[in-house]
C-alpha cells in the first residue's frame, strides 16, 4: 500500500499492462520523450522502448485512425489525445469506425483500443483544454465511456479498459490528476467496467456524479445524509445501482460539469422517471454548467457547479 496520485496510478496501470501483454502500445503527441504534457507516460519510453511508446505526428485523426488499424490487426493501442477539446478531429474515426467495426463485420473484426484524454475544467488552461463532452460519446453504441475519480479506481478501471474487447474512451479528470491521493494496493487488481461504486452510503438523497464532480458533490453533502454514487462507467452504465438507491432514498440529484441540455444527467433522470417514479418524494434535480461555451480561465470557476449550488439542490429536494 502507498498513497499515490492519479497521474502515478495511470502510469502504473500502463506499465503493468505493458509488462503483462506485449501487444499493448502507447501512441500520441509528446507521450514518449516528454512523458506526456501531464507526465502520465513518464518513464515508459525507457522501460519499453520507442516501438511501444510512440511519439506520433500532431494529428488526432491520424492517431485514432491508425489505432483502428493497429487494433484490428491485433495490437492493443492506448492512444493519448492531449486534451479532450482536440479529440473532435478524430470523432469520425471513433464514431464511424471504432464503434461499428464489430457490428459492420458481424463480429469478424473488432477494435479493442483505449483512447485516453484529460477532460474537464479547473486547471486554468487556454481555450478548448477543458471540454466535458462525455455525453457525446455516451450516446454512441459500440464504444464504452469510463471516467475515474480516484487513483485507486483510475488504475483498476484503466487496466480493465486495456483488456476490454471494445473501444474505451477513458476520460481523465485533469483537475484531479495531482490534487488527490489515495491508497493503491501493491498487488494486481482490476475494477469491472459498467459497474458504479457507492462512494458514500446514505438514506435521504441519491447523488450521482463522476470524475471531478464526484468530490465536489461529496464535499457539499456534509450536512445531508446522501448516498453518493460514483458512476465511473457512463456507457454502458450501471442502471441497477442507481434505481436501487433511489428506491431507498426517494430523492435524486445529479451533478455534472457539462451543460444540462442533452447532458448525461438527462439520461439518468429519464431512467429514474421510467423505473422509480413512484418512489420519488421530490423532483429530480440536476446541478450542471450553464447552457454556454466553456469559458477561459478567468471565468471557469463561475461555470463549474459550485458547492453552494449543489447544497442548494440538496436542500431543495429535502424541503420539497
Amino acid at each position: 500500500m502507498g498513497k499515490i496520485n492519479i497521474v502515478q496510478a495511470i502510469n502504473q496501470a500502463l506499465a503493468e499492462e505493458m509488462e503483462r501483454d506485449r501487444d499493448v502500445v502507447i501512441l500520441g503527441e509528446d507521450v514518449a520523450k516528454d512523458g506526456g504534457v501531464f507526465r502520465v507516460t513518464q518513464g515508459l519510453l525507457d522501460k519499453f522502448g520507442p516501438e511501444r511508446v510512440i511519439d506520433t505526428p500532431l494529428s488526432e485523426l491520424g492517431i485514432i485512425g491508425a489505432a483502428v488499424g493497429l487494433a484490428a490487426y491485433g495490437i492493443k493501442p492506448v492512444a493519448e489525445i492531449q486534451f479532450m477539446g482536440f479529440i473532435y478531429a478524430g470523432l469520425e474515426q471513433v464514431f464511424s469506425h471504432a464503434a461499428r467495426i464489430r457490428s459492420r463485420s458481424r463480429g469478424r473484426y473488432t477494435c479493442p483500443m483505449v483512447v485516453r484524454t484529460p477532460y474537464g475544467i479547473g486547471i486554468k488552461p487556454p481555450e478548448l483544454h477543458s471540454e466535458s463532452s462525455e455525453a457525446l460519446f455516451a450516446q454512441m453504441p459500440g464504444i464504452k465511456v469510463v471516467v475515474p475519480s480516484t487513483p485507486y479506481n483510475a488504475k483498476g478501471l484503466l487496466k480493465s479498459a486495456i483488456r476490454d474487447p471494445d473501444t474505451v474512451i477513458f476520460l481523465e479528470p485533469s483537475r484531479l490528476y495531482r490534487s488527490i491521493k489515495s491508497d493503491v494496493p501493491d498487488g494486481e487488481y482490476t475494477i469491472p467496467l459498467g459497474k458504479a461504486h457507492i462512494h458514500e452510503q446514505g438514506k435521504d438523497i441519491t447523488v450521482v456524479a463522476w470524475g471531478t464532480m464526484l468530490h465536489r458533490a461529496a464535499d457539499a453533502a456534509e450536512d445531508f445524509d446522501c448516498e453518493i454514487i460514483d458512476l465511473m462507467t457512463l456507457r454502458p452504465y450501471d442502471e441497477e445501482t442507481i434505481i436501487n438507491s433511489v428506491k431507498k432514498t426517494g430523492r435524486l440529484v445529479i451533478v455534472h460539469e457539462a451543460p444540462r441540455v442533452g447532458g448525461f444527467g438527462a439520461e439518468i433522470a429519464a431512467l429514474v422517471a421510467e423505473k422509480a417514479m413512484e418512489y420519488l418524494k421530490a423532483p429530480i434535480l440536476r446541478v450542471t454548467a450553464p447552457d454556454a461555451v466553456i469559458p477561459m480561465a478567468r471565468l471557469e470557476d463561475h461555470y463549474m457547479p459550485s458547492p453552494e449550488s449543489i447544497k442548494k439542490a440538496y436542500r431543495t429536494v429535502m424541503e420539497y
Partner: protein, 355 residues
C-alpha cells in the same frame, strides 16, 4: 546568397500496353499466358457481376449499388499483385477487388441488398468491410501495416480509394503516418475523374494525385489505370518495396468511371455523352483483348465461353444470395460489444427478438 533548389519532385507515368494493344516488352512484368488469361477471365467475371448488380437494382432486388465499369483493370491488376494474406481496406466501389480475391459473390449481393452478413468476411480473407464514408479508411491501412511491422510479419496492407477521397484529411494523415513510421502499405487511388458530379480538377489544383506522396516523404506514381499490366507492375513493385522495409507507395490509377456514381445518380446532369464516349473506347477490357489477340491468346469463341461461364457463376451466386435466410433482428444488438450489456439483454426481450 544564391537561392538553392533543395528538393525536386518528379512523378513517373507508367503505361505498358497502349490503346492499340501494343506492349513495351522491356516493361512487361513476367506473367505467364495462363496468368494473363486468368486476369482476362477475372475481368469478365467482375464485369458480369457488376452488370447483374445493376439489373438487380433496377428490379428492386438489391439496393443502391456503385458500378465499377471502366475500373476493372485498376482493381483487378492491383489486387492480383497482393497476396492472399495481405490486408485490403476497400471503398464502396471495389467489386473487382473482391472478385479477384475470390470473395463469395453471393455475400457481395447480400451486402448490397442491405444485409451486414455480406461483410462478415469469411476466415481466410483479409478484406475489411468496404468503407462508406469516403477516404476515412486510409489510416486503417496504415495502422494495420504498422501492426504487421511491429509483429514482424512480412505482409502489406492496401487502401483503395478515389480522387474524391484524396481531398480528405484522413488521406493525408494516414499517408503521413505511413511515411513517418515506414509502414508497409500501398495507397491505391483510382482517379476515375469524377466524385459524383465534381470533376477531378475541383479536388486538387495539383497536376497529379500521385505527387501528394512527396509531401509525406515517399514515392507516388501515376499509372494508366486502364492498362492492367501497368497497374499490376506498379503494385507488385510497391509490395516488394514495402516487404523489404522500403515503406509506403502511392499509386494513382488514371482511369474513368463509365457509369453513374451509383444507381441513385444521373451523370448526364453534369458530364457530356461525348466525354463518356471517348473513355468507352479506352476501357480496359478492349485493351487487354487487343493485346491478347496479338499474342494469340484471344478468340471470339474463347471470350464467349468465358462470358457464358461467368454468367452461370453469377446466376448461381444470385440464387444463393436470394435463398439465404433473412437476417435475425437480434443481430442488430448482438454485435455491438463483445458481450451483451444488461440493457441489451432486456431490450432483446422488450423488442421481442429473444429466441
Amino acid at each position: 546568397m544564391p537561392i538553392n533548389i533543395i528538393e525536386k519532385i518528379e512523378i513517373k507515368y507508367l503505361q505498358i500496353v497502349n490503346e492499340k494493344g501494343e506492349a513495351d516488352s522491356s516493361l512487361m512484368p513476367p506473367l505467364s499466358n495462363d496468368e494473363i488469361k486468368k486476369l482476362f477471365e477475372t475481368m469478365i467475371l467482375a464485369r458480369t457481376f457488376n452488370h447483374r448488380a445493376l439489373s438487380l437494382q433496377r428490379e428492386g432486388r438489391i439496393g443502391t449499388y456503385a458500378s465499377i465499369w471502366g475500373q476493372e483493370a485498376s482493381q483487378i491488376g492491383s489486387a492480383y499483385a497482393l497476396d492472399k494474406d495481405d490486408w485490403i481496406f476497400p471503398s464502396f466501389r471495389e467489386s473487382g477487388v473482391f472478385v479477384e480475391k475470390g470473395y463469395p459473390l453471393w455475400m457481395l449481393y447480400r451486402y448490397w441488398a442491405g444485409d451486414e452478413r455480406g461483410m462478415q468476411i469469411p476466415e481466410g480473407f483479409y478484406l475489411f468491410p468496404m468503407s462508406v464514408p469516403v477516404g476515412t479508411h486510409v489510416p486503417h491501412a496504415t495502422g494495420a501495416a504498422w501492426a504487421m511491422r511491429l509483429k514482424g510479419h512480412r505482409k502489406v496492407a492496401a487502401a483503395y480509394f478515389g480522387d474524391g477521397g484524396s481531398s480528405k484529411g484522413d488521406f493525408y494523415e494516414g499517408m503521413n503516418f505511413a511515411g513517418v513510421f515506414k509502414a508497409p502499405v500501398i495507397f491505391l487511388c483510382q482517379n476515375n475523374q469524377w466524385a459524383i458530379s465534381v470533376p477531378r480538377a475541383r479536388q486538387t489544383a495539383a497536376k497529379t494525385i500521385a505527387q501528394k506522396a512527396a509531401a509525406c516523404g515517399f514515392e507516388g506514381i501515376q499509372v494508366d489505370g486502364n492498362d492492367i499490366f501497368a497497374v499490376y507492375k506498379a503494385t507488385k513493385d510497391a509490395v516488394e518495396k514495402a516487404k523489404n522495409g522500403g515503406g509506403p507507395t502511392l499509386i494513382e490509377c488514371f482511369t474513368y468511371r463509365l457509369d453513374d456514381h451509383t444507381t441513385s445518380d444521373d451523370a448526364s446532369r453534369y458530364r457530356t455523352e461525348e466525354e463518356v464516349e471517348v473513355w468507352k473506347k479506352k476501357e480496359p477490357l478492349i485493351r487487354l483483348r487487343l493485346f491478347m489477340e496479338k499474342k494469340g491468346l484471344w478468340t471470339k469463341q474463347y471470350e464467349d465461353e468465358v462470358s457464358k461461364k461467368a454468367q452461370e457463376t453469377v446466376d448461381k451466386e444470385i440464387q444463393k444470395a436470394e435463398a439465404f435466410a433473412a437476417p435475425d433482428p437480434a443481430d442488430i444488438v448482438r454485435y455491438t460489444y463483445g458481450e451483451l450489456t444488461p440493457r441489451q439483454k432486456r431490450e432483446l426481450k422488450e423488442f421481442g427478438w429473444e429466441k
